[in-house]
Amino acid sequence: MKTVRKIFKPEYFIFLLIYLVIVGLNKMGLINAYLFQVITIAGINVIMTISLNLVIGITGQFSMGHAGFMSIGAYISAIVSRLAFQVLERTALTDNLILLAAVVAGGIIAAVFGFIIAMPTLKVKGDYLAIVTLGFGEIIRAVWRVVDYTGGALGFSGIPKLTNFTWVFIILLIAIYASRNFIKSSFGRSCLAVRENDIAAEAMGVNCRNYKVLAFVFAAFMAGVAGGLYAHLIQFIQPDNFSAAKSTDYIVYLYAGGVGTISGSIFGAVVLTILPELLRFLNDWRLVIYALLLLYIIIWKPYGLFGGREFKFLNLETIEATDSKLRKWIRRRLRRKKEEAKS
């Protein structure tokens, strides 16, 4: 019985159910094509927010240039698929294979840039890091504006539509599981220690520098993948799509849902992507409401709208559980150090 429960965890059924309900409603015509597209974009935003959560929520490094990683992923994957379809014909099989290849390539190149941008983070902290990452996003945007191959400032058009809801859903699940396991791993614990107090972490033998770089590279990879999916969904990308305002959007999603928790990231991104579509009648005022919401949350609700809880079925650790486990992990580590010192 135990093994059966291990293989068929309830979360699998819930994920399957969510997927089937959304696709089923779409097939039945209850969700029109436009809303379906919005839901797909919400999925991409969730991937982005989970990725940002790894940097801000878990490692405590403020990044304001996350759209920069996304744009790298988007452009690189669009270039890959363009080159690939010059050689190959479009069939169902090549479509999916090339999407996978393009998205992974985008993610890898974004990860390389994540490594490069992580270098200055070794020297600057807090507010300065925020400005450096903001600057990174702007520099990337300036570069895309002058690259002729991708259409410069006018934008990159004619990207084939390869992304569908299924792909977004699969990659979203991978992102959730990867970041859940990351938090539970020794790497994740070290990152949490860096977030809590980097000097203390350093004193305990956590190499802060390596873990900051690791978090940035991991998050950049995810953001690059999300960018690739985005490019092949919207079919047209422009440098200005990935401006500082876009990065700010993800910060708002993250803080609205609850920084530091995966469920909060999912909740914030989904609600704040779909909510504006339902609030169309408010026109521009919805942005004012957004801003007030953000201020309200940051001043009175530091754990976000989701209150630091986690979806039960996801089997995630709550903030308190993570804290107590982190403390245990630190104690174990200290003991090991003491023993090493003795012997």
Partner: protein
């Protein structure tokens, strides 16, 4: 050569605007270690305040009386808005992490910009800023200098000198310095820390509001989202000059302004990105900025 001189004047005018804005960033950062991302939006508010004041009172009285009055009103308006923002958005967050106040600043920025956009009479479309300052072209040895440029640079220089004196040669300046070094100790010495922080904030905001008028006079298109890039460049100026240092803000502003004008004359599309490249280089090799000295104060 003449071309270079002309560009230098443009650089000087842009640089003095950046210096005024950078002063606000420096004041706020110096005193509560916070990057006020919404600072440049106060400049936008100042520009719009002057725009509406001129629309309402434009016909009455002579320009020589009206314009200084508008300037003073805008200045007070900016100081008031700065005070309110500090009181309701940033004060509750004092003692929390820097990231929290940074997010609050993003919230304030979004709020101001989008509220302005929604207000009737403002909207998203650019507006033509009225000509408040007399515009006479002066010819010096073949170079064209307009009187607006001279007035703007003179006002900016006066305000900067005033701030320099205020910060280093008055009792209030001493209090500001004390608070910036250690809040608890200053409060034990009988300084009203909250009051000093509020006044500093209002001062920065008033400078930004005046900067809005000057900006509008030089580049007479104002719109709701004009703060973004200008604010970032002004912040870069503050960091390059050495954040927390008033002379540094002036120097940084002039450097960025002049550099931008020269870059724009041959590589317009990358000049904004290049500002950030310079910023990153400065942060990596001299994090305290050009005039920041060796002060190894903790920068977290």
């Amino acid at each position: 050569m003449g071309h270079v001189f002309q560009l230098l004047i443009y650089g000087l005018q842009l640089g003095s605007l950046y210096a005024l804005l950078a002063m606000g960033y420096t004041l706020v950062f110096g005193i509560i270690r916070m990057i006020n991302l919404a600072h440049a939006d106060l400049m936008m508010l100042g520009a719009f305040a002057a725009y509406f004041l001129f629309q309402w009172f434009g016909g009455t009285g002579s320009m020589a009386i009206l314009v200084p009055l508008i300037m003073i009103a805008t200045l007070l308006f900016g100081a008031g808005v700065g005070f309110v923002i500090e009181r309701f958005a940033y004060k509750p967050l004092r003692g929390r992490t820097t990231v929290a106040s940074l997010v609050a600043a993003i919230g304030v920025q979004l709020f101001i910009e989008n509220l302005m956009r929604c207000l009737p009479g403002v909207g998203a479309l650019p507006k033509n800023f009225p000509t408040l300052l007399p515009k006479v072209n002066i010819n010096i040895g073949g170079y064209q200098i307009s009187s607006v440029q001279i007035i703007v640079i003179a006002i900016a220089a006066l305000l900067l000198l005033f701030m320099q004196r205020l910060c280093y040669h008055t009792g209030f300046g001493k209090q500001m310095q004390a608070v910036s070094v250690d809040k608890d100790a200053s409060s034990l010495m009988g300084i009203n820390v909250n009051r000093v922080i509020s006044i500093t904030f209002s001062l920065g905001a008033a400078l930004a509001a005046i900067c809005g008028i000057l900006y509008g006079s030089l580049y007479p298109t104002i719109y709701v989202y004009m703060a973004g890039t200008i604010g970032n460049k002004a912040f870069i100026s503050a960091v390059i000059g050495g954040i927390g240092s008033i002379k540094g803000a002036m120097l940084g502003g002039l450097i960025i302004g002049i550099m931008e004008v020269f870059l724009q004359s041959f590589a317009a599309s990358i000049s904004y990105g290049l500002c950030f490249v310079i910023l990153i280089l400065v942060l990596l090799y001299k994090p305290t900025g050009l005039l920041g000295g060796k002060a190894a104060r903790e920068k977290v």
